[in-house]
């Protein structure tokens, strides 16, 4: 039955497309210039989904009455998702493009979709994020849903204090995100950096529940999740007494600086004698120490490299040390000072190897410089001998 229906829908849409392809598209454009203007970049237009595909009417007719033919309409907000879904939920239609067809279903489960169903006209529908006319492919850098543009697109509503207040929501999320490491990566041009939709979902946008947070973050931070899952904090999370990742890192700010994390730790472990406090103090010190050592070695390699000393091998070792130091960040999620210390010691061993090699090179360099003295001694001696000889010859001649 459903198959039959979809078949009928498909053939209708296809025949519409076919009809459109044959008619000059500018029949509507004649009057609706404003709407038609952005269509030259539209992916729909290129695939022959035109005005009439959504708005109805007859684009072949040239008179207003005939072309509108009683069925042209402005599309109401609440109707938008279902209208887009007409094509976008059709497996047959979407298959060639490799576009998922569960978007409408996802949307219906999203906070946006649920509210829309309740009759809330403020929520985002398809067109609010993707645009209505002149819809571009997601991969197009100009598309509002291109990774780099997602935060700004969401912020259009979610940074609007009045709008958010009306719905009992906070409007600081976009601002907080802007200060996060995630946003910094995105600014640097890393398109894989997480945006709003990475955690909240796109079509099924909804805030993750407390118990889900660890899975949301764990999508990328695998090691952290694995190690965290073995700790007391995780057990507390299971009981609902701890908010896993966001307790320390916050949700949108994504704090990573030690001094910020330390403040979070102190919220529960403020007591000077608390063994946990002693432990995290020691873990932080170990990491700071290793990072400082690494930075020192890195600076030294760079300095000597600039001074003309070949440091290729040390640079390779530096990569190794960097991997070691980067492993420290996940390792601290174990909350186990001995494990952190062991990891740090591994990295420090590589760093001291780098320093040992550089010492040798610096010694060789200083020998090079010391060789200047004997060179001058010898050559000045020779100059003196020639001078002496010249004087003697002159004396003889006289």
């Amino acid at each position: 039955m459903t198959l039959r229906v979809s078949w009928v829908v498909t053939s209708i849409v296809l025949s519409v497309c076919a009809a459109v392809a044959e008619t000059p598209p500018d029949a509507c454009v004649k009057c609706h210039e404003k709407e038609a203007a952005p269509e030259h970049v539209s992916v729909h237009f290129r695939e022959q989904v035109t005005c009439v595909s959504c708005h109805g009417g007859d684009s072949a007719a040239t008179e207003k009455e005939k072309s509108h033919a009683g069925q042209v309409r402005k599309i109401a907000r609440a109707e938008v998702p279902a209208l887009c879904a007409k094509c976008h939920s059709d497996v047959r239609l979407m298959n060639p493009y490799g576009i998922a067809t569960d978007q409408f279903a996802q949307y219906q489960t999203s906070r946006h979709g649920l509210k829309l169903a309740e009759g809330d006209q403020d929520v985002a529908t398809c067109a609010d994020c993707h645009g209505a006319h002149g819809i571009r492919k997601v991969k197009d850098p100009e598309s509002p849903v291109f990774p780099k543009n997602v935060p700004a697109t969401c912020a259009r509503c979610h940074a609007d204090a009045d709008l958010m207040k009306r719905h009992g929501l906070k409007s600081n999320a976009p601002k907080d995100y802007g200060e996060s490491v995630h946003a910094k990566l995105l600014e640097k041009g890393d398109l894989s950096a997480p945006t709003c939709i990475t955690c909240h979902g796109n079509h099924g946008a909804t805030p993750p529940g407390v118990r889900d947070i660890i899975h949301v973050c764990g999508k990328c931070h695998v090691k952290e999740q694995e190690l965290f899952s073995q700790t007391k904090h995780f057990a507390l999370t299971e009981k609902g007494e701890f908010q896993s990742c966001v307790t320390c890192h916050r949700n949108h700010l994504i704090r990573t600086k030690q001094e910020d994390i330390r403040k979070s730790c102190k919220l529960c472990h403020g007591d000077e004698t608390d063994p946990a406090r002693i432990r995290f103090t020691s873990i932080f010190a170990t990491i700071r120490g290793a990072e400082a050592l690494f930075q020192g070695a890195k600076d030294r390699v760079q300095r000597l490299g600039h001074a003309g000393i070949p440091v290729d091998e040390e640079e390779a070792l530096l990569e190794e040390a960097k991997t070691g130091v980067l492993r420290l960040a996940p390792m601290q999620h174990t909350l186990d000072e001995s494990k952190v210390l062991a990891t740090a010691q591994e990295a420090e061993a590589t760093i001291s190897e780098i320093n040992r090699r550089l010492d040798g090179k610096e010694r060789a360099e200083s020998w090079k410089k010391k060789s200047i003295l004997p060179i001058w001694g010898f050559l000045l001696g020779m100059a003196g001998l020639f001078w002496l000889k010249l004087g003697r010859i002159k004396k003889e001649a006289a």
Binding site: G308, P310, S371, I372, I375, L380, M382, F386, K389, L390
Partner: protein
């Protein structure tokens, strides 16, 4: 001792039966004992130091060629290998690189000495002309050698340098294409520059140097007497070339070598980053000895500039034919000396302007922005 003497006698007799040894010995003795005029001083050693540097460039150049590979894939890596892995490679490369700079300095001093003492006047006009050609060849040496390490600086320096050739109307684009072996600096350019640097120019320079020296030896060094009234040096005041002047030169040479070695050790030639045709580094400037000419071109519209810029070298080349004053003592030819010194000062000023142009510099705590023409402006943020 007697073994050595017997060996010498034997070789002498063996050669004597085959070659006109008497003539050769006579020639060598005459050349060695050739008296130099009494005014010959320490200033007369710049020429022989240039000759030494030419030898240094040839020997170190041959050694560098052993490991150098003139392809874009291997050029940078091979120079890197020379300066890091090959024993004393850094020293040999340093000698070659510093040698080229010092050679140009020595040649400039040599030219200045010749100019101030008016040694270019009749009958030594040809020696001067060949000398100027030699200077041009050495600058070309520097320009072609600059590209060979295939670093960012060398790649883009060459791009700018050849751009000048390309801006000549009509023949420019043609000449540039011929020079580059394509439309941009590429592997083809490297190949061409390499061939010119290691085959063409060495022969040209060695040949011209030989002619230059033969002319100098046959005509003898110029005295300070006016043209036509030169007194052939003789008597007690003359300085014999061998051993007096040679010993003097050895003294200078020893000290010079010590200075050069110090420069090589204390001021190593950095290799920098490998050439990347897709990334232009900021503030690329030609080498210092090209800067005055490069800056000079900026003050004229392209076509006029190139027409104008051929005038100074031409004037220098034809100097012996333009300056008809027979006097050699500086005090007796005030016009020529004034013009010459002013030209030298102008060249230095152009070089300085070129060095600072398009850069911002702090002088006595104030920031200055030097524009395209090398004119300083107070930086806007400092003025505020």
């Amino acid at each position: 001792m007697s073994v050595t003497r017997n060996l010498v006698t034997f070789v002498r007799r063996w050669l004597g039966e085959r070659l006109p040894m008497d003539d050769i010995e006579h020639f060598v003795a005459k050349q060695a004992g050739k008296p130099l005029p009494p005014h010959v001083s320490w200033f007369h050693t710049f020429g022989s130091l240039s000759l030494f540097l030419l030898g240094n460039q040839i020997v170190t150049g041959i050694l560098l060629m052993v490991y150098y590979r003139p392809t874009p894939e291997r050029a940078y890596e091979s120079v890197h290998f020379i300066s890091t892995k090959a024993a004393f490679g850094w020293f040999i490369r340093g000698l070659h690189a510093w040698g080229s700079t010092l050679m140009i300095i020595m040649l400039l001093l040599h030219v200045a000495r010749t100019f101030l003492m008016a040694a270019y006047k009749k009958p030594r006009e040809l020696t001067w002309v060949i000398g100027v050609l030699l200077f041009g060849a050495v600058v070309t040496f520097g320009f072609t050698g600059y590209l060979l390490p295939w670093t960012q600086v060398s790649y883009w320096g060459t791009t700018i340098g050849t751009e000048v050739a390309g801006s000549v109307p009509l023949v420019g684009p043609f000449a540039k294409r011929l020079l580059l072996g394509g439309d941009a600096v590429s592997g083809e350019t490297l190949s061409r520059f390499y061939v010119v640097h290691v085959i063409v120019l060495p022969w040209v320079v060695v040949f011209l140097t030989a002619v230059h020296i033969v002319l100098m030896r046959t005509q003898g060094l110029a005295t300070m007497d006016p043209v036509g009234k030169e007194v052939i040096p003789e008597g007690k005041s003359v300085i014999p070339f061998w051993p007096h002047h040679v010993l003097k030169e050895m003294v200078v040479f020893s000290v010079f070598l010590a200075i050069m070695a110090t420069m090589v050790i204390l001021l190593p030639q950095e290799l920098g980053a490998k050439a990347d045709p897709l990334v232009t580094p900021a503030a690329i400037k030609p080498e210092w000895y090209i800067l005055p000419g490069y800056q000079f071109l900026k003050y004229f519209p392209k076509m006029l500039g190139l027409a104008v810029s051929t005038i100074p070298p031409l004037l220098v080349l034809l100097l012996p034919f333009l300056d008809r004053n027979p006097e050699r003592r500086a005090r007796k030819r005030p016009v020529c000396i004034t013009v010459g010194v002013m030209a030298m000062a102008a060249t230095v000023l152009l070089g300085i302007a070129g060095h600072f142009s398009e850069r911002s510099v702090r002088i006595f705590g104030r920031a200055y922005q030097f524009d395209h023409f090398g004119i300083p402006h107070r930086s806007p943020e400092a003025a505020r």
